[in-house]
Amino acid sequence: VSPHEPGSPELPWAPPGVGHLRATEPFPVAARRALGDTQLRRTIGNATATIRTKRASVVGEVPDWEALRVAGQAIKNRTMRDLDRHLEQLEERVVERGGAVHWARDATEANAIVTGLVRAAGAHEVIKVKSMATMEIGLNEALESAGITPYETDLAELIIQLGHDAPSHILVPAIHRNRAEIREIFLREMKDVDPALTDDPAALAEAARLYLRRRFLSAEVAISGANFAIAETGTLVVVESEGNGRMCLTLPNTLITVMGIEKLLPTWRDLEVFLQLLPRSSTGERMNPYTTMWTGVTPGDGPQNFHLVLLDNGRTATLADEYGREALNCIRCSACLNVCPVYERTGGHAYGSVYPGPIGAVLSPQLTGIEDNASLPYASTLCGACFDACPVRIDIPSMLVHLRDAHVRSMQERSRIPTSEAAAMKAVAWSMATPVRWRWAQRLSRIGRIISRLMGTPGRITWLPAPLSRWTAARDAPVPPTETFGQFWARTRGSQP
């Protein structure tokens, strides 16, 4: 690998063995299991349909929505062009205002930095704001193995943590749980919970509130992610719905923020565009209930120690890929998950990464290197619904096609013996390369007529050999005609070469 290729020592991918970016089994295998879970199908189908409807209605009322999307895309593209400069400016401003900045090459480094900071603060427990970056690097596991107890305070993340479960959606991590299951988890895992707890949403929220209130009041250290960071001012921004995030961001004495380097915006004005795009795309609200912004440390107000951990973990390697770098423009709204027909049926666990759905299918394989998430770019029909929903116009379908190509190339580089698929694709392309070969290949397809006759199913084919058996398992195949269109044309309109 040359020094400027992604995945080189200078531009490392996210390392294996730490964090949650790698699937342990191929997508089709995990998807098959999920598709058999009828309760999961119903729960996710209902939830995504509800958010889809809400999003469509609040997006529909913005007359300049398309212009906002274009602006969001342009700002992100411009930011990525000079990311190094903006990051250094951010560091300078944060330090000027009394914060400390740490650079983490990967998940292992970030976990070590955060664990060290918590220890230095003398804390044995921390409260956490909902954060994808800390889920990505497996921070909770790292803290626990260092004897520090992390408490998730976002309601859905709390359900996940208490249920010893993994998130399955970016915005709604517990989307795969219905309220009866949540009640069971609370009864099992929360000490002092009222045994008469019902599955009424208000009662469940109240139980979580009582459980969390003690943590908010006693915690010395909070850990958060960030939705945005403004380079020109050094300001960090977290948007949320519950207010639990704001409790974490304001009550403890020490605040540690772990932020992917791509979350940056150059100027304060840029935020205007994203604070319109994000809530409408994610929760389907005109405005999110809580927007917390802070710049360094304010004496006598809020946390008196602020640490910003800037996380790479494969992002620079992604940035180096001209066709794939747009995935870094993602603002984690989840709109693409909610409109994706594949996600809607399999749920998020099938993707095996904290980033599921269409954006996960392009982001995870780029952060880890394509070989470690090779099945994800194929987990899409390329229907295009994700692109239409994306608030920053990430062309996910084209990126999936690019990653499939990258995967095929990587396979070819690693082995001189082609896969059966590669051999079949080559054979088909060869037969289509000239009209003469093409006529012969079409003649071969008449085997289908024989199969139809042999199987006693005139007019349809109900069985084909592998791998086409995967088609005929649930669908009939058409019987090839006695005459192709080309032959018809030659017969009726004149000769053909």
């Binding site: 598709l35 194929y378 269109f485």
Partner: protein, 245 residues
Amino acid sequence: VRIALFATCLVDSLYPDVGKATVALLERLGHEVAFPPGQTCCGQMHINSGYQDAALPLVRRFADTFAGYDAIVAPSGSCVGSVRHQHAMVARRGEDDRLAERSERIASRTYELSELLVDVLGVEDVGSYFPHRVTYHPTCHSLRILRVGDRPLRLLRNVRGMELIELPDADQCCGFGGTFALKNADTSTAMLTDKMRAVLDTHAEVCTAGDSSCLMHIGGGLSRLRSGVRTVHLAEILASTEETG
């Protein structure tokens, strides 16, 4: 207008009636149709499966075959989508900038059937007669890559004798996705089931669309269930007249 028909590999090999219907329709409207003999496939299956290198000769062949025509029509939103949005990209990645420019010029003259009829030929009533209860599935690539919008529906609404029923959740993918149907057969089947449920809910006797590939998928499922609903390509409905039935 001298129109070249790009039959597509699927219609040429498996659905010749769709090609015949496209020709019959355009000739009925008074246009000359040519079928350039060198044509094979747009290469979309290779491109979307990750084999852009293998697709490059097909992209070149398409450009060589259709360079001389004013308008190129294909009875497929998906294949036209590939010509318009992928061919130049494949050429550029294969480091053939001249081919990329040629591909772009040809793509600008390549139309899906409903686009050709409504935008180029300026007709919405093509004088068809099709006395059946029909529902229309707007295929993903027609809808979201080509943005054909309601052009097919405008054509269908003018068909005499036909009852057009709106398909619930019409913009949802049927689950075909080329090799997706094989690589992720279980997920594909789950999506197909929901599409078939929507089709059956309409009580239509015919499901139509502008792509033989999606129709092969939906029709394959409906046939397996012996549902009694058949799939008919948009071109075949528009080609039908009182004389042909």
